[in-house]
Protein backbone atom coordinates (compact mmCIF):
# COMPACT_ATOMS: atom_id res chain seq x y z
CA UNK A 1 0.00 0.00 0.00
CA UNK A 2 2.90 2.37 0.70
CA UNK A 3 4.12 1.40 -2.70
CA UNK A 4 0.77 2.44 -4.12
CA UNK A 5 0.77 5.79 -2.31
CA UNK A 6 4.36 6.41 -3.29
CA UNK A 7 3.44 5.75 -6.89
CA UNK A 8 0.61 8.26 -6.70
CA UNK A 9 2.80 10.90 -5.08
CA UNK A 10 5.80 10.39 -7.28
CA UNK A 11 3.68 10.29 -10.37
CA UNK A 12 6.11 10.92 -13.17
CA UNK A 13 9.46 9.61 -12.06
CA UNK A 14 8.94 6.03 -13.20
CA UNK A 15 11.60 4.74 -15.54
CA UNK A 16 9.49 5.12 -18.66
CA UNK A 17 9.29 8.87 -18.16
CA UNK A 18 12.98 9.05 -17.44
CA UNK A 19 13.58 7.19 -20.71
CA UNK A 20 11.31 9.52 -22.66
CA UNK A 21 12.94 12.64 -21.29
CA UNK A 22 16.44 11.36 -21.97
CA UNK A 23 15.42 10.42 -25.50
CA UNK A 24 13.87 13.81 -26.10
CA UNK A 25 17.09 15.59 -25.16
CA UNK A 26 19.45 13.25 -26.94
CA UNK A 27 17.40 13.53 -30.12
CA UNK A 28 17.53 17.32 -30.08
CA UNK A 29 21.31 17.02 -30.20
CA UNK A 30 21.32 14.18 -32.73
CA UNK A 31 18.87 15.78 -35.07
CA UNK A 32 20.52 19.19 -35.01
CA UNK A 33 23.89 17.74 -35.91
CA UNK A 34 22.52 15.35 -38.49
CA UNK A 35 23.28 17.55 -41.46
CA UNK A 36 26.22 19.93 -41.22
CA UNK A 37 24.56 22.30 -43.67
CA UNK A 38 21.58 22.84 -41.39
CA UNK A 39 22.86 25.90 -39.54
CA UNK A 40 24.09 27.44 -42.77
CA UNK A 41 20.73 27.21 -44.47
CA UNK A 42 19.07 28.45 -41.29
CA UNK A 43 21.42 31.46 -41.37
CA UNK A 44 20.61 32.20 -44.99
CA UNK A 45 16.90 32.13 -44.38
CA UNK A 46 17.23 34.23 -41.24
CA UNK A 47 19.10 36.87 -43.22
CA UNK A 48 16.41 36.83 -45.85
CA UNK A 49 13.61 37.39 -43.34
CA UNK A 50 15.44 39.92 -41.20
CA UNK A 51 16.48 41.96 -44.23
CA UNK A 52 12.84 42.80 -44.79
CA UNK A 53 12.84 44.74 -41.56
CA UNK A 54 16.39 45.95 -41.03
CA UNK A 55 19.79 46.14 -42.54
CA UNK A 56 22.01 43.58 -40.85
CA UNK A 57 25.71 42.91 -40.92
CA UNK A 58 25.77 39.53 -42.59
CA UNK A 59 29.44 38.92 -41.96
CA UNK A 60 28.98 39.35 -38.23
CA UNK A 61 25.98 37.02 -37.98
CA UNK A 62 26.39 34.13 -35.55
CA UNK A 63 23.93 31.33 -34.99
CA UNK A 64 24.67 28.48 -32.62
CA UNK A 65 23.04 25.77 -30.59
CA UNK A 66 23.87 26.32 -26.96
CA UNK A 67 23.79 22.97 -25.23
CA UNK A 68 23.15 22.90 -21.51
CA UNK A 69 22.78 19.81 -19.35
CA UNK A 70 19.07 19.49 -19.73
CA UNK A 71 18.18 22.08 -22.33
CA UNK A 72 19.24 23.29 -25.72
CA UNK A 73 18.86 26.90 -26.92
CA UNK A 74 19.25 28.51 -30.30
CA UNK A 75 21.44 31.55 -29.73
CA UNK A 76 21.78 34.16 -32.46
CA UNK A 77 23.95 37.24 -32.44
CA UNK A 78 22.89 39.56 -35.23
CA UNK A 79 24.57 42.95 -35.62
CA UNK A 80 22.11 45.52 -36.93
CA UNK A 81 23.41 48.30 -39.18
CA UNK A 82 20.19 50.20 -39.65
CA UNK A 83 16.50 49.72 -38.96
CA UNK A 84 14.20 50.51 -41.83
CA UNK A 85 11.93 53.49 -41.48
CA UNK A 86 8.29 52.74 -40.94
CA UNK A 87 6.11 53.46 -43.95
Amino acid sequence: MFDFLGRLLRGSDNSKNVAKERLRLVLIHDRSSLSPGLLDSLKEELIEVLSKYMEIDESGLEVNLDEGDDSVALVANIPVKQIKRKV
Binding site: D3, F4, R7, L8, N14, S15, K16, N17, A19, K20, R22, L23, R24, V26, L27, D30, R31, L34, S35
Partner: protein, 266 residues
Protein backbone atom coordinates in the same frame (compact mmCIF):
# COMPACT_ATOMS: atom_id res chain seq x y z
CA UNK B 1 4.03 -4.25 -59.04
CA UNK B 2 7.00 -5.83 -57.30
CA UNK B 3 8.18 -4.19 -54.13
CA UNK B 4 11.60 -4.22 -52.47
CA UNK B 5 11.53 -3.54 -48.74
CA UNK B 6 14.60 -3.21 -46.55
CA UNK B 7 14.35 -4.25 -42.89
CA UNK B 8 16.69 -2.06 -40.88
CA UNK B 9 17.28 -0.67 -37.38
CA UNK B 10 20.66 0.92 -36.75
CA UNK B 11 21.16 -0.88 -33.46
CA UNK B 12 22.13 -4.54 -33.56
CA UNK B 13 20.17 -7.45 -32.15
CA UNK B 14 16.76 -5.78 -32.09
CA UNK B 15 15.11 -8.32 -34.39
CA UNK B 16 15.75 -7.47 -38.07
CA UNK B 17 16.52 -11.02 -39.10
CA UNK B 18 13.63 -12.48 -37.12
CA UNK B 19 11.28 -9.92 -38.67
CA UNK B 20 12.54 -10.57 -42.21
CA UNK B 21 12.17 -14.35 -41.86
CA UNK B 22 8.67 -14.16 -40.43
CA UNK B 23 7.29 -11.56 -42.80
CA UNK B 24 8.77 -13.36 -45.79
CA UNK B 25 7.31 -16.68 -44.70
CA UNK B 26 3.98 -15.03 -43.92
CA UNK B 27 3.80 -13.37 -47.34
CA UNK B 28 4.67 -16.67 -49.03
CA UNK B 29 1.96 -18.43 -47.03
CA UNK B 30 -0.55 -16.05 -48.60
CA UNK B 31 0.68 -17.03 -52.05
CA UNK B 32 3.05 -14.18 -52.93
CA UNK B 33 6.31 -14.88 -54.70
CA UNK B 34 8.90 -13.81 -52.15
CA UNK B 35 12.68 -13.47 -52.21
CA UNK B 36 14.59 -12.81 -48.98
CA UNK B 37 18.01 -11.23 -49.41
CA UNK B 38 20.52 -11.54 -46.57
CA UNK B 39 22.61 -8.39 -46.90
CA UNK B 40 24.50 -9.00 -43.66
CA UNK B 41 27.72 -10.04 -45.38
CA UNK B 42 30.15 -11.74 -43.02
CA UNK B 43 27.49 -12.44 -40.39
CA UNK B 44 24.96 -14.50 -42.25
CA UNK B 45 21.98 -15.55 -40.14
CA UNK B 46 18.80 -15.52 -42.15
CA UNK B 47 19.57 -19.03 -43.46
CA UNK B 48 19.69 -20.40 -39.92
CA UNK B 49 16.52 -18.67 -38.77
CA UNK B 50 14.73 -20.20 -41.77
CA UNK B 51 16.35 -23.61 -41.26
CA UNK B 52 18.02 -23.53 -44.69
CA UNK B 53 21.66 -23.45 -43.66
CA UNK B 54 22.50 -26.85 -45.13
CA UNK B 55 21.44 -26.01 -48.65
CA UNK B 56 23.70 -23.11 -49.48
CA UNK B 57 25.99 -23.46 -52.49
CA UNK B 58 26.42 -19.95 -53.85
CA UNK B 59 25.83 -16.58 -52.20
CA UNK B 60 25.14 -12.92 -52.89
CA UNK B 61 28.78 -12.07 -53.52
CA UNK B 62 29.05 -14.95 -56.02
CA UNK B 63 26.13 -13.49 -57.91
CA UNK B 64 27.53 -9.97 -57.89
CA UNK B 65 30.96 -11.17 -58.98
CA UNK B 66 29.47 -13.23 -61.78
CA UNK B 67 30.57 -16.65 -60.42
CA UNK B 68 27.01 -17.89 -60.87
CA UNK B 69 23.64 -16.71 -62.06
CA UNK B 70 21.04 -15.40 -59.59
CA UNK B 71 18.87 -18.44 -60.12
CA UNK B 72 21.69 -20.78 -59.08
CA UNK B 73 22.22 -18.96 -55.80
CA UNK B 74 18.57 -18.83 -54.77
CA UNK B 75 17.59 -21.42 -52.17
CA UNK B 76 14.06 -22.68 -52.13
CA UNK B 77 12.32 -22.79 -48.75
CA UNK B 78 11.43 -26.15 -47.16
CA UNK B 79 7.78 -25.26 -46.67
CA UNK B 80 6.80 -22.96 -49.51
CA UNK B 81 7.93 -23.32 -53.10
CA UNK B 82 7.21 -19.62 -53.73
CA UNK B 83 9.72 -18.50 -51.06
CA UNK B 84 13.44 -18.13 -51.82
CA UNK B 85 16.53 -17.01 -49.97
CA UNK B 86 19.58 -15.31 -51.43
CA UNK B 87 22.14 -15.95 -48.69
CA UNK B 88 24.92 -13.57 -47.66
CA UNK B 89 28.56 -14.52 -48.09
CA UNK B 90 30.01 -15.63 -44.79
CA UNK B 91 33.73 -15.23 -45.41
CA UNK B 92 33.82 -11.91 -47.19
CA UNK B 93 33.89 -8.24 -46.18
CA UNK B 94 31.01 -5.81 -46.49
CA UNK B 95 32.81 -3.93 -49.25
CA UNK B 96 32.74 -6.98 -51.52
CA UNK B 97 29.49 -5.47 -52.80
CA UNK B 98 28.85 -1.91 -53.99
CA UNK B 99 25.51 -0.06 -53.76
CA UNK B 100 25.29 0.10 -57.53
CA UNK B 101 25.58 -3.69 -57.80
CA UNK B 102 22.91 -4.19 -55.17
CA UNK B 103 20.57 -1.86 -57.03
CA UNK B 104 21.08 -3.87 -60.20
CA UNK B 105 20.49 -7.16 -58.36
CA UNK B 106 17.28 -5.96 -56.73
CA UNK B 107 16.04 -4.70 -60.07
CA UNK B 108 16.63 -8.15 -61.53
CA UNK B 109 14.83 -9.86 -58.63
CA UNK B 110 11.83 -7.55 -59.04
CA UNK B 111 11.20 -9.08 -62.43
CA UNK B 112 10.68 -12.50 -60.81
CA UNK B 113 9.16 -11.78 -57.42
CA UNK B 114 6.27 -9.87 -55.84
CA UNK B 115 8.14 -9.02 -52.64
CA UNK B 116 11.86 -8.71 -52.02
CA UNK B 117 12.77 -8.31 -48.35
CA UNK B 118 16.32 -7.26 -47.58
CA UNK B 119 17.75 -8.10 -44.15
CA UNK B 120 20.05 -5.18 -43.32
CA UNK B 121 23.14 -5.46 -41.11
CA UNK B 122 23.40 -3.34 -37.96
CA UNK B 123 25.23 -0.04 -38.26
CA UNK B 124 25.23 2.81 -40.76
CA UNK B 125 28.29 2.03 -42.85
CA UNK B 126 28.85 0.31 -46.16
CA UNK B 127 26.68 -2.71 -45.30
CA UNK B 128 23.76 -0.41 -44.53
CA UNK B 129 24.28 1.59 -47.70
CA UNK B 130 24.35 -1.60 -49.74
CA UNK B 131 21.22 -2.98 -48.13
CA UNK B 132 19.13 0.13 -48.72
CA UNK B 133 20.11 0.72 -52.31
CA UNK B 134 17.43 -0.59 -54.57
CA UNK B 135 14.78 -0.60 -51.82
CA UNK B 136 11.44 1.09 -52.48
CA UNK B 137 10.34 1.05 -48.86
CA UNK B 138 11.78 0.44 -45.43
CA UNK B 139 10.69 -1.16 -42.19
CA UNK B 140 12.40 0.13 -39.07
CA UNK B 141 12.63 -2.35 -36.22
CA UNK B 142 13.11 -1.01 -32.74
CA UNK B 143 12.74 -2.18 -29.16
CA UNK B 144 11.32 0.02 -26.39
CA UNK B 145 14.72 1.21 -25.21
CA UNK B 146 16.43 4.59 -25.38
CA UNK B 147 19.40 3.38 -27.43
CA UNK B 148 17.31 1.47 -29.98
CA UNK B 149 14.86 4.34 -30.52
CA UNK B 150 17.71 6.80 -30.80
CA UNK B 151 19.37 4.71 -33.51
CA UNK B 152 16.02 4.30 -35.27
CA UNK B 153 15.74 8.08 -35.40
CA UNK B 154 19.16 8.34 -37.00
CA UNK B 155 18.24 5.68 -39.56
CA UNK B 156 15.06 7.56 -40.48
CA UNK B 157 17.22 10.60 -41.27
CA UNK B 158 19.66 8.56 -43.34
CA UNK B 159 16.85 6.88 -45.27
CA UNK B 160 15.37 10.26 -46.05
CA UNK B 161 18.72 11.43 -47.37
CA UNK B 162 18.67 8.33 -49.61
CA UNK B 163 15.18 9.29 -50.77
CA UNK B 164 13.38 6.45 -49.02
CA UNK B 165 10.51 8.27 -47.41
CA UNK B 166 8.02 7.35 -44.70
CA UNK B 167 9.47 4.10 -43.36
CA UNK B 168 7.11 2.00 -41.23
CA UNK B 169 7.80 1.21 -37.61
CA UNK B 170 7.91 -2.30 -36.13
CA UNK B 171 8.11 -2.25 -32.35
CA UNK B 172 9.62 -5.54 -31.21
CA UNK B 173 9.90 -7.20 -27.78
CA UNK B 174 7.25 -5.11 -26.07
CA UNK B 175 6.34 -6.29 -22.55
CA UNK B 176 2.79 -5.20 -21.76
CA UNK B 177 3.30 -5.88 -18.05
CA UNK B 178 6.24 -3.48 -17.92
CA UNK B 179 4.44 -0.84 -19.99
CA UNK B 180 1.58 -1.06 -17.52
CA UNK B 181 3.87 -0.50 -14.57
CA UNK B 182 5.36 2.53 -16.28
CA UNK B 183 8.72 0.83 -16.68
CA UNK B 184 8.74 0.60 -20.44
CA UNK B 185 7.96 3.14 -23.14
CA UNK B 186 4.58 2.55 -24.73
CA UNK B 187 3.86 2.24 -28.42
CA UNK B 188 2.39 5.73 -28.45
CA UNK B 189 5.53 7.15 -26.83
CA UNK B 190 7.63 5.76 -29.65
CA UNK B 191 5.29 6.90 -32.41
CA UNK B 192 5.29 10.39 -30.89
CA UNK B 193 9.06 10.51 -30.77
CA UNK B 194 9.85 9.01 -34.17
CA UNK B 195 6.87 10.46 -36.02
CA UNK B 196 6.54 7.63 -38.54
CA UNK B 197 3.55 5.31 -39.06
CA UNK B 198 3.33 2.08 -37.09
CA UNK B 199 3.00 -1.18 -39.00
CA UNK B 200 3.31 -3.71 -36.20
CA UNK B 201 3.89 -4.55 -32.57
CA UNK B 202 5.54 -7.85 -31.66
CA UNK B 203 5.53 -8.98 -28.03
CA UNK B 204 8.61 -10.26 -26.28
CA UNK B 205 7.92 -13.95 -26.48
CA UNK B 206 10.03 -16.99 -25.66
CA UNK B 207 8.24 -18.86 -28.44
CA UNK B 208 10.42 -16.84 -30.83
CA UNK B 209 13.56 -18.28 -29.30
CA UNK B 210 12.14 -21.79 -29.48
CA UNK B 211 11.07 -21.40 -33.09
CA UNK B 212 14.46 -19.91 -33.98
CA UNK B 213 16.12 -22.92 -32.35
CA UNK B 214 14.14 -25.15 -34.67
CA UNK B 215 14.47 -23.01 -37.78
CA UNK B 216 10.70 -22.70 -38.09
CA UNK B 217 9.36 -19.15 -38.21
CA UNK B 218 6.79 -18.42 -35.49
CA UNK B 219 4.46 -16.82 -38.06
CA UNK B 220 3.36 -20.37 -38.89
CA UNK B 221 2.25 -21.07 -35.30
CA UNK B 222 -1.47 -20.44 -35.31
CA UNK B 223 -1.87 -20.06 -31.57
CA UNK B 224 1.10 -17.85 -30.83
CA UNK B 225 0.61 -14.14 -30.17
CA UNK B 226 3.92 -13.26 -31.75
CA UNK B 227 2.86 -15.31 -34.78
CA UNK B 228 -0.40 -13.39 -34.94
CA UNK B 229 1.51 -10.12 -34.69
CA UNK B 230 3.60 -11.08 -37.72
CA UNK B 231 0.56 -12.25 -39.67
CA UNK B 232 -1.03 -8.86 -39.03
CA UNK B 233 2.03 -7.05 -40.39
CA UNK B 234 1.91 -9.29 -43.46
CA UNK B 235 -1.69 -8.26 -44.08
CA UNK B 236 -0.76 -4.61 -43.65
CA UNK B 237 2.07 -5.03 -46.18
CA UNK B 238 -0.60 -6.26 -48.58
CA UNK B 239 -2.40 -2.99 -47.93
CA UNK B 240 -5.15 -4.22 -45.61
CA UNK B 241 -6.28 -2.28 -42.56
CA UNK B 242 -5.84 -4.57 -39.58
CA UNK B 243 -6.55 -3.42 -36.03
CA UNK B 244 -3.61 -3.61 -33.64
CA UNK B 245 -3.40 -6.54 -31.21
CA UNK B 246 -4.58 -6.07 -27.68
CA UNK B 247 -1.47 -7.28 -25.94
CA UNK B 248 -2.85 -6.80 -22.48
CA UNK B 249 -4.59 -10.03 -21.63
CA UNK B 250 -5.41 -9.38 -18.01
CA UNK B 251 -9.00 -8.43 -18.68
CA UNK B 252 -10.88 -5.48 -17.28
CA UNK B 253 -10.35 -6.28 -13.62
CA UNK B 254 -6.65 -6.79 -14.05
CA UNK B 255 -6.30 -3.55 -15.91
CA UNK B 256 -8.27 -1.70 -13.26
CA UNK B 257 -6.05 -3.20 -10.58
CA UNK B 258 -2.88 -2.10 -12.31
CA UNK B 259 -4.37 1.29 -12.96
CA UNK B 260 -4.68 1.58 -9.20
CA UNK B 261 -1.15 0.30 -8.82
CA UNK B 262 -2.23 -2.90 -7.14
CA UNK B 263 -1.68 -5.52 -9.77
CA UNK B 264 2.09 -5.49 -9.67
CA UNK B 265 2.97 -8.15 -7.16
CA UNK B 266 1.86 -11.36 -8.81
Amino acid sequence: MAKAIVVTSGKGGVGKTTTTANLGTGLAQLGHKVCLVDADIGLRNLDVVLGLENRIVFDLVDVVEGNCRVRQALIKDKRFNNLFLLPAAQTREKDAVAPEQMRELIKQLKEEFDFILVDCPAGIEQGFRNAISGADDALIVTTPEVSAVRDADRIIGLLEAAEIYEPKLVVNRIRPDMVRKGDMMSIQDMIDILAIPLIGVVPDDEVIIISTNKGEPVVLEKKSKAGQAYRNIVRRLEGAEVPFLELEDKGVVGRLMSLLGMGNKQ
